[in-house]
């Protein structure tokens, strides 16, 4: 028992120590010597922190804008992806092929998608949300399709032996079965949504959001502030991921496997 708590504690302590070591080495310019860069080009953590604290009033509103784009796009894209998966389930003959075609969307890089959406939608926030939605569609549809179709052996036969129609099979078997898969899709999409939102801000005509901040600060040589924005982006990415993992834990708690 004692050894179990010990190893559990180490599981927390070791990563924290590793993180602290990186920050300490960074602060003492170990990476600067290793990569031969100047402090100007890679600001020290203490400096980034002080600039971050000085500018919370600017970074937080930008973070809210980015978060809104990411979450809204994530919800819209995931919903569309889920709908596509349902359609593909009901029409299995061409549904799976359709999904494969849809996955081709995943091959379009965000840097290409973003300028295209800017032309399609005159409102910058709609264009950004559209980019995130498209990026989030595929992972959800593929995962949800698997969840709706990778059923336990004989469970479909059992339902058939009860003479249940497509509706009850869907509601009582397929949908509950898909829950963990849906969360996997959302977890993948959290990362994609943040990337999509930040990159589309690089191309957007709206001069706001964390992505715009990062681009503008880095290209005018304001590296400490640029890094402060990067930390803001990482923080909300982690926050979003933690929220999803928490919900996933709640939703799949009763499952034994």
């Amino acid at each position: 028992m004692a050894s179990k708590t010990f190893s559990a504690a180490m599981g927390v302590i070791l990563p924290v120590l590793f993180g602290v070591a990186i920050v300490v080495l960074w602060e003492h310019q170990a990476f600067h010597r290793l990569l031969n860069v100047k402090v100007l080009q890679l600001p020290l953590p203490s400096r980034i922190l002080s600039v971050l604290l000085e500018n919370t009033g600017k970074i937080i509103p930008d973070a809210v804008i980015t978060l809104r784009t990411a979450v809204l796009g994530l919800l819209i894209g995931s919903s569309i992806g889920f709908l596509v998966a349902i359609i593909a389930t009901f029409f299995p003959r061409w549904g799976y092929g359709g999904l494969t075609v849809l996955s081709a969307f995943n091959a379009i890089p965000v840097v290409a998608l973003s300028p295209i959406m800017n032309v399609w939608f005159s409102s910058p926030s709609v264009a950004k949300t559209a980019v995130v939605s498209i990026v989030c569609m595929v992972a959800m549809s593929v995962n949800a399709f698997r969840g709706l179709n990778d059923l336990k052996p004989f469970s479909l036969d059992l339902m058939k032996s009860y003479a249940s129609g497509m509706g009850p099979v869907f509601l009582k078997l397929r949908l509950p079965n898909s829950v963990p898969y849906i969360f996997t899709g959302i977890r993948i999409n959290v990362a994609s949504a943040m990337i999509g939102a930040i990159v589309s801000e690089y191309f957007s005509s709206a001069s706001n959001g964390l992505g715009f901040g990062i681009r503008n600060k880095l290209s005018t040589g304001q590296f400490p502030l640029g890094w402060a924005y990067i930390i803001g982006a990482s923080a909300i990415g982690i926050l979003l991921y933690m929220i999803v993992v928490t919900f996933e834990g709640l939703a799949t708690k009763h499952r034994s496997n």
């Binding site: 100007l40 400096r47 500018n55 005159s122 957007s204 005509s205 503008n216 005018t220 304001q222 502030l225």
Partner: protein, 350 residues
């Protein structure tokens, strides 16, 4: 055992081969190395804005000075300041307020020549909007700018008129102006303004009579734009000092020729590779000549009064959001900004 010996022999042979290749490579490189390499990083794509350097190169003025000059255009991703700071370029072309904000961050840059004597930045609007001066800009007017260090004059104008300094991010076309997404668009006299008023291919053909113009020079917020800068670390080497003087001498000659015949200069720029039409290059060359103003002052003149105004305006209006950098910016003097030592040497030795 035998395998190990074979490996050893192979390693020695390989080492000898590399050593040999290294020597012969050096020898081969040494033969034509009479020209000294030098790289200039432009602020933007190859266009008549930088015609002086292209003309100096095409006419062999750099070669006459014993230089082999590489002209690196900028596509908006790597700024000239970053090129000079990472030593991928020796000399950079940038705007003075941008240079000042870099100096405030602690970069050891120094200006060595001022190519443009006036501000070329305009804010333009459709005639119907009725905005022909800074005082007529309203809180609801959508003002566009490219950002990335090009926004300081616009911010100064807005603040001077008691307006918020928020601007709409403008891309590098004038579509947003044409569609009406931007009421008051940033435009360089020599580039975007031409693309709006002129009638040649690729331009919108509005005609000058249908466009209102706000001129930064007339509004009293003019900051000096295209200038040449280097890093002090690079200058610490006397060899680089000598190279800089040679470069300036040849470049001033190139600018003089370019201004004397702007159409010929546009042709030379076209040959260097261009994303825009010859007509537009010619328009640009003629407009750029007005900014270089070769009839009024010697080309490259570092005008103390104009640079002092730029420094004052930058101190007053540039937001750096970083207390250390802000303090440093406020402490900057003209002596920190520029030196006319090399320009004087280049002119004297003519």
């Amino acid at each position: 055992m035998k395998g190990l010996r074979n490996a050893l022999v192979a390693a020695i042979a390989l080492a000898a081969l590399i050593g040999f290749a290294g020597c012969s490579g050096k020898a081969a490189a040494k033969a034509p190395a009479e020209l000294e390499p030098l790289t200039i990083h432009l602020k933007w794509l190859p266009q008549s804005q930088f015609m002086g350097y292209y003309v100096a190169d095409a006419k062999g003025y750099y070669k006459d000075e014993g230089l082999k000059v590489t002209i690196t255009p900028c596509d908006g991703t790597i700024a000239p300041e970053q090129g000079v700071s990472t030593k991928t370029a020796d000399i950079g072309v940038t705007w003075v307020p941008t240079l000042l904000t870099y100096q405030a961050q602690g970069y050891d840059f120094i200006e060595v020549a001022q190519i443009f004597q006036k501000s070329g930045l305009l804010l333009i609007s459709k005639k119907a909007a009725g905005i022909d001066s800074g005082a007529k800009i309203k809180k609801t007017t959508k003002v566009g700018n490219w950002g990335l260090g090009n926004e300081y004059e616009i911010k100064a104008l807005l603040q001077k008129n008691g307006l918020p300094t928020k601007y709409t991010n403008q891309d590098f076309t004038m579509n947003a102006f044409d569609k009406g997404d931007i009421d008051l668009a940033s435009a360089m006299t020599y580039n975007e303004y031409g693309l709006v008023i002129n009638k040649y291919t690729g331009a919108l053909g509005y005609g000058a009579e249908n466009v209102n113009v706000i001129d930064m020079n007339a509004e009293g917020v003019a900051m000096m734009e295209d200038c040449l800068f280097v890093s002090k670390e690079w200058l610490a080497d006397p060899k680089n000092e000598a190279k800089l003087v040679k470069f300036l001498r040849a470049s001033l000659k190139g600018w003089k020729d370019a201004c004397a015949d702007t159409n010929a200069a546009a042709d030379i720029v076209m040959k260097a590779g261009s994303s825009i039409s010859l007509e537009h290059q010619q328009f640009m060359a003629a407009q750029v000549k007005k900014l270089v103003d070769p009839d009024a002052v010697p080309i490259g003149t570092l005008d103390e009064a104009k640079l002092a105004q730029t420094l004052d305006l930058t101190k007053k209006y540039a937001e750096l959001s970083d207390s250390n950098a802000t303090a440093k910016l406020q402490a900057l003097t003209l002596a920190d900004l520029y030196t006319d030592k090399y320009l004087k040497l280049a002119i004297a030795a003519k």
